[in-house]
Amino acid sequence: MSVGIQSQIEKIGGNTLIVSSANQYPVKTVVAVSLEAMPRLLPLRA
């Protein structure tokens, strides 16, 4: 599954990510997710 152009997920802490989206949802935000979710989400980095 492809990640939108210029969208990014960046790990900044144990369970914290910075999500930068250039899609229909233009956001750049810090999100804390569960530890379990991290390994699922990180491979989706652009």
Partner: protein, 413 residues
């Protein structure tokens, strides 16, 4: 998408396992109940079919079927003569039937004593063969044909050929206690199993004359009527019932077979619906688990949406998670149901194997074990149905997830 769904399931091992267990138990119960009751049906049908479809059994009213009947009519030689004159009837054979306790080396075996023209045995019970010995000659009233189980009891000493069989016969009118009786085992039958109302393996067959002496009565327990053609069975039955009114009871294997099949069919439906309820409960469990999962993963969904996942893809991800739960549950359920149905088969066999009842056991089995029947349809159903249910259960939570607003989801506390 499937990979994500699979990972999500693995991450919540305990919760996924419990949800899968719910589905597995539900589907296992349906499978086990239907397989066992189909097995029961097949077993009963098999035992009824062993008695030829062209044999009608005439009994005095007030017996097994009509305990409340006030009829005092008793069947005698006159009735045998009359029955043979009915068009379509080939022959009529009277019989005596009593309960007996066989004394065998200190242990006693509950059995039946049936007095009849012994040459008719092979006509009545198709495929019945002699294991050893020969049938008593005509006029020999001291010899008997012994069923396999009587000769080879599970406990106690076996009875060999030409050995004396001593027993206490009960149910003879005018004698309160048992009547002592001894016969010579001139033939031992091969294991046969049960036929309609008779467990052949648990029976001692004595010549009609001997039974007449034993009971000191000219009145028979019943008469077997052999009809020349199975198509005429119903006509002959109607003729007999018209003639005797409520004085006798005519038992036709075909009729009993269809009524028992109707009962077991309903039993299957009833038991299946119990299983369906448990599967429904499991489905609600999936809805619950998925719903909680969606709530918990709101931020995750927000991230996915923010980086470009389409609602359809989110929907697909959660649906595949639910479907995967269903698939694993269905396979576990199949295995579990397979085990349970064999356990249930033993239990049902224990209930049905009672002497004097239908006795559903196979040849040589004391109690009898019902072999569950797994039809291809049943196996396919138990594999597909839980998956469909689980997917349907996942629809609403998945739809909720797909409809989330990314920004709101990201900020979800």
């Amino acid at each position: 998408m499937f990979k994500l769904a699979y990972k999500a399931l693995v991450d919540r091992k305990m919760r996924s396992a419990l949800t899968i267990l719910g589905i597995a138990v539900g589907s296992a119960i349906i499978l086990a109940l239907i397989a066992s009751s189909s097995g029961l049906n097949a077993s009963i049908s098999g035992s009824i079919e062993k008695t030829g479809a062209n044999v009608l059994t005439i009994r005095n009213a007030g017996g097994f079927f009509e305990r409340g009947s006030t009829s005092t009519y008793q069947l005698s030689q006159q009735d045998v003569n009359y029955l043979t004159t009915i068009p379509g009837v080939v022959a009529a054979y009277p019989f005596y039937s009593y309960g007996a306790s066989i004394n065998n080396g200190g242990t006693s075996l509950q059995a039946s004593v049936v007095g009849m023209d012994l040459s008719v045995l092979s006509v009545l019970y198709q495929g019945l063969t002699v294991a050893s010995g020969t049938f008593p000659e005509l006029g020999d009233t001291t010899s008997a044909v012994v069923g396999w189980q009587v000769a080879n009891p599970t406990s106690g000493t076996p009875i060999g050929l030409n050995q004396m069989v001593s027993m206490s016969v009960s149910g003879i009118k005018g004698s309160a206690g048992g009547v002592s009786y001894t016969v010579l085992a001139s033939a031992i039958l091969a294991p046969y199993g049960t036929a309609l109302f008779a467990n052949i393996d648990d029976t001692v067959y004595i010549p009609l004359q001997a039974a007449q002496f034993l009971s000191k009565s000219p009145y028979f327990t019943g008469i077997y009527v052999i009809v020349d053609n199975t198509d005429d069975v119903t006509t002959v039955q109607t003729d007999i019932e018209t003639y005797y009114s409520t004085n006798v009871r005519v038992i036709s294997p075909g009729q009993i077979l269809s009524s028992i099949q109707a009962i077991t069919g309903q039993l299957t439906l009833f038991l299946g619906s119990i299983g369906a309820v448990s599967l429904f409960v499991a489905t609600v469990g999936i809805v619950n688990t998925m719903y909680v999962s969606v709530m918990e993963r709101t931020r995750e969904i927000g991230i996915l949406k923010a980086i470009g996942y389409r609602p359809r893809q989110i929907l697909g991800m959660f649906l595949s998670e639910a479907a995967l739960t269903g698939v694993i549950g269905a396979f576990c359920g199949l295995a579990l149901g397979y085990v349970i149905s064999f356990l249930m088969g033993g239990m049902l066999g224990g209930i049905g194997g009672g002497r004097g009842g239908f006795g559903f056991g196979g040849p040589g089995e004391a109690g009898g074990v019902i072999q569950p029947v797994f039809s291809t349809e049943l196996i396919l159903f138990s594999l597909v149905f839980p998956v469909v249910l689980a997917t349907v259960a996942g629809l609403y939570p998945a739809w909720r997830a797909s409809k989330m607003n990314a920004v709101v989801a990201l900020k979800y506390e």
